[in-house]
Symmetry: C2
Subunit: 221 residues, 2 copies
């Protein structure tokens, strides 16, 4: 069983890869996500490589091997099932669960995990819309595009909120911007790098494009 630290690195590498499938995970980004210095990340990556969990060439990007991906998606499954459980069963706010799950994900047994999954009815997504990997390690990343890429007049359904910071999530919820909610793009202000959005049945608000990029949506209906 991978150590708690190793699990955090694997998860960081996998989420970085999912975040921008174009570029591989880099040492600096991994270090930033895990919260260590670059030197520490380098030596840890060396260890992952030695253990057959990752591949990295000197001064190049870091990729997970198939067993690394398997282990990482296990951690992600635990993290997201826990988040879902905390929100659905214990009435946590979606802005509170990330930190909580960050520690619990290393302490739940396979047995407990299966109980949670069953209890929740095998959910496909967590409260933020992040897909929950299956028991076999398969992740289905739902095709969704950033809100920032939508045209004026577009009506969309929110699929996923990428930014996990509590402040951002609270702000989103306050305006009714949660997964499955509908919203309309009412204006684009290119020079100001912002857009105006009207959540269904709510007052409209202005979002910086950088923020709108953190919201993934499905086309209207």
């Amino acid at each position: 069983m991978a150590t708690e630290t190793v699990e955090n690195y694997l998860k960081a590498i996998m989420t970085l890869a999912a975040e921008s499938p174009t570029r591989e995970a880099t040492v600096s980004r991994i270090a930033a996500v895990v919260g260590v210095t670059r030197g520490t990340a380098t030596s840890m990556i060396k260890k992952l490589t030695a253990g057959g969990l990752a591949r990295a060439e000197r001064y190049g990007g870091v990729t997970l091997t198939s067993s690394g991906r398997r282990a990482a998606s296990d951690v992600l499954r635990r993290h997201r099932l826990i988040e879902t459980f905390l929100v659905r069963a214990l009435k946590f706010d979606w802005s509170e669960v990330h930190e909580e799950a960050e520690r619990l994900e290393h302490a739940v047994s396979p047995r407990l995990l299966e109980r949670l999954d069953e209890f929740l009815g095998h959910p496909a997504c967590d409260p933020h819309g992040d897909p929950i990997p299956g028991r076999a390690g398969v992740v289905i990343e739902p095709a969704a595009k950033p809100l920032s890429s939508c045209k004026v007049g577009a009506v969309v359904r929110i699929a996923r909120v990428i930014d996990q910071s509590a402040a951002f999530l609270r702000f989103m919820a306050q305006h009714g911007l949660k997964p499955d909610a509908k919203a309309k793009v009412v204006a684009l202000h290119a020079p100001a790098q912002s857009m105006e959005v009207e959540p269904h049945g709510r007052t409209k608000l202005v979002l910086a494009l950088a923020a709108a990029e953190k919201i993934l949506v499905h086309a209207g209906r």
Copy 2:
């Protein structure tokens, strides 16, 4: 916040002290409970002492200071609330929850803990009948005596099962010997060091006195 290791030592010291209030916790017992060598326990105890959590004189017993007791009862509270939650909410068997809680107790935040407590309606005891310390660190050890000390003919109500081993707990449950169940002592076989017990509405069984000592009971009714 005390490290996970420190928490385990504190809990071990407190449960040993509660187990036999006559004699203080010893290095060997602590080492055995935590699962380390005596040398390791010695150095850890030195660290606890330096940190003001325990008191120990050379070649003498180990006691917790008031802040050590406070910290330990926090861990115990977490452990027992988690056990209760797993049994009541997630339908775990009472023989499975100890190990699970052993890890989770170090990963739940105060916030999550309070949610659990509220969800469960502020339970006084865990599934094994162990008392759950209050938020303020107060433990009320219910007065109960070992079944082994009961006379023939005595009708008792089970209060608490001390032995946390899965096999023992499964055996107990199989015979209806769970907290709050009633039972009658039908015979004593002093030479065989055993007693015969008839759980209410069940077939009677023979228990070694050593086993009966692990079952605490209230006098009949």
